[in-house]
Amino acid sequence: MKILLAEDDAKMAEYIVAGLTENGHSVDHVTDGRDALSYCLYNDCDLAILDRMMPGMDGLSVLKALRASKKDLQVLFLTAMGQVDDRVEGLSAGGDDYLTKPFHFSELLARIGAVTGRRKTSGVDQFLKVHDLTLDLLARTATRQGMLIELHTKQFNMLEILMRNAGHVVSRTMLLERVWNFNFEPNSTVVETHMSRLRAKIDKPFDVALIHTIRNTGYSLHGPR
């Protein structure tokens, strides 16, 4: 995938470019907001990762200009401005996701996966399927090896996010944001508690575990590799 990184911190940019390249993405890097805008307008790329505070032009203005020119690429903010209002501002201006510094690299990868994956699978599929687990989005039930599994709302939402990002890491923060709508760190074991219940239902009775814990980061759902 073709990614533009607009980031004025050289060291940070170096890490991100190296990491993304290792993961099979093709990355171009600019340090100035105006360069980022002209790059996006005249080059084909799938995703722009924008810092909000940049020389030349701030990330938010870049995004607004892109949306105004009907440029249909995904935009992910990667910024130190992490307050709720900042997020709301970024997302309502048309940003696809918002990640605050400092961050785990795996979280960035997970969000890139989620953002680009979301467009592809945002069809009207009624079923999500991973290995032998099927999720019925209309009946809001799960079935594994022919067994019907009843899920609570939160458990269902968690599983849906994991399955939509199957094979990718879904971070704890992403789950807090999307399942509970928490835009803050609750210093709590909410995610762990609910995850253990979800596991008890969809993994425990079966031989093969699908939900895998990625320490310090989050979870990933995938079949045996």
Binding site: G82, V88, F184, P186, N187, S188, T193, R197
Partner: protein, 462 residues
Amino acid sequence: MDRGEVLSGAAFTAVLRSSIVFLFILIAVGWAALTYVEHTLLEEIRNDVKERWDILAADHQAEGADHVISAIQHVASLEESGTRALAIFDETRHLAGNLTTRPPGSGFQVGTLEYLPPPQPGASTESIYYSNEVDGRWLVVGQRLDVLKRTREAFVRTLALTGFIVVLSMIAFGYFLSRQSLLRLREIEAALARASEGDVAARIPENGGTTQIDRLAREMNLHLDRSSRLMTTTRNTAAAVAHDLKSPLGRAYLALGRAQDKVEEGADPMDALLDAQDELERMRGIFDTYLQLSRIEGGTDNATFKTVELSALVSDLAETYAMVAEDAGQILVPHLDDADSCEIHGDTQMLQQLIVNLLQNAVNYGPEGNEICLELTRHEDCVILVVADKGPGIPEADRDAVFQPFYRLDPSRTKSGSGLGLALVRVIVERHNGSITLQDNDPGLRVEIAFPALGEQHDFPG
């Protein structure tokens, strides 16, 4: 004290101005009064003079000239002071009386008369007189205006004295007031100077007065209270931040060192690296929460505020945290008032965080078997949220202090947590114009929060 500063004081200048105004009014009123009195007096003298002339004229007609002349001679000899003029003349000569020459003209006149003997020095030179012809002789009756002169002099003297005394005492009083307020201002100046040098205990002495300066002083003291509280908090916070951030930083260093050792030994450094990451994560959490705290505390923008149905929010979180409590061997019992609307004006995210912090505290500090009670009730004009647990509670002496950032009951800080939870709760409650109280739950802690409610309370269930 410098006299110039006293004289330039507001009280003194005000008094000075009003005394000038007072003098003007005094002069104007005095002049009007004097004119009136003079006029009345003159009228009376005139009538008196005319009466006397009429008597003499009548005598002249009835009894003849000789009788009148002898009467005038007789009366003139009695007139020692000589303020009254009385004389009779024929065409050319002076017949009798105390005037040497006949004044010109006839009828009422005001002018100088030539008296015999001449008047004492200091007497008025003006006289009012009536002169007219009676049977070929001229009868003159007059009155020297000494009374008028004396009245005028007494009047002016009294007014001048009054003016002088009043203005003098006003100025003295003004000086006194100005001095008083200058002293008070000096106190304020001194207190502010001390405060700006960093003395958090500096306050303006309050005397319970009601003057504008006293009110200002009280307002300034309130401000000093607030800023000294802020300053103390900031100082404590800086110390606490240093402590709380240094510990995970130190542990991260250790973990990285361990990872290095592992790499040198050729072993897998993953565990140590993850530990380091974990510690950095904790630091990030503290930073985020602290930023959020200062943001909410300093914020005045309520653009994100809208109508929030607290019961929906609370029941959702109750469901989530029932499981967290269960995992910790505790039980969460929600008591929600479903019948009434529990709408308030607020920010969903902040309110969510407030409830999460309280529930998480209850779980963190409660023992196994802890019963956490989550209550939401609608009252007349407020919505009350209660979170009560059976944990160790908070000693009464510490109940104010726990709302300070980084304050911990346990000084060794063995329990995890940033020490920001309750501080955040407090600023969120304050942003929502609510009030929070900590009470004993016998045993445990009972946190009661009251928010101003929106909408009407239903009187019947359903």
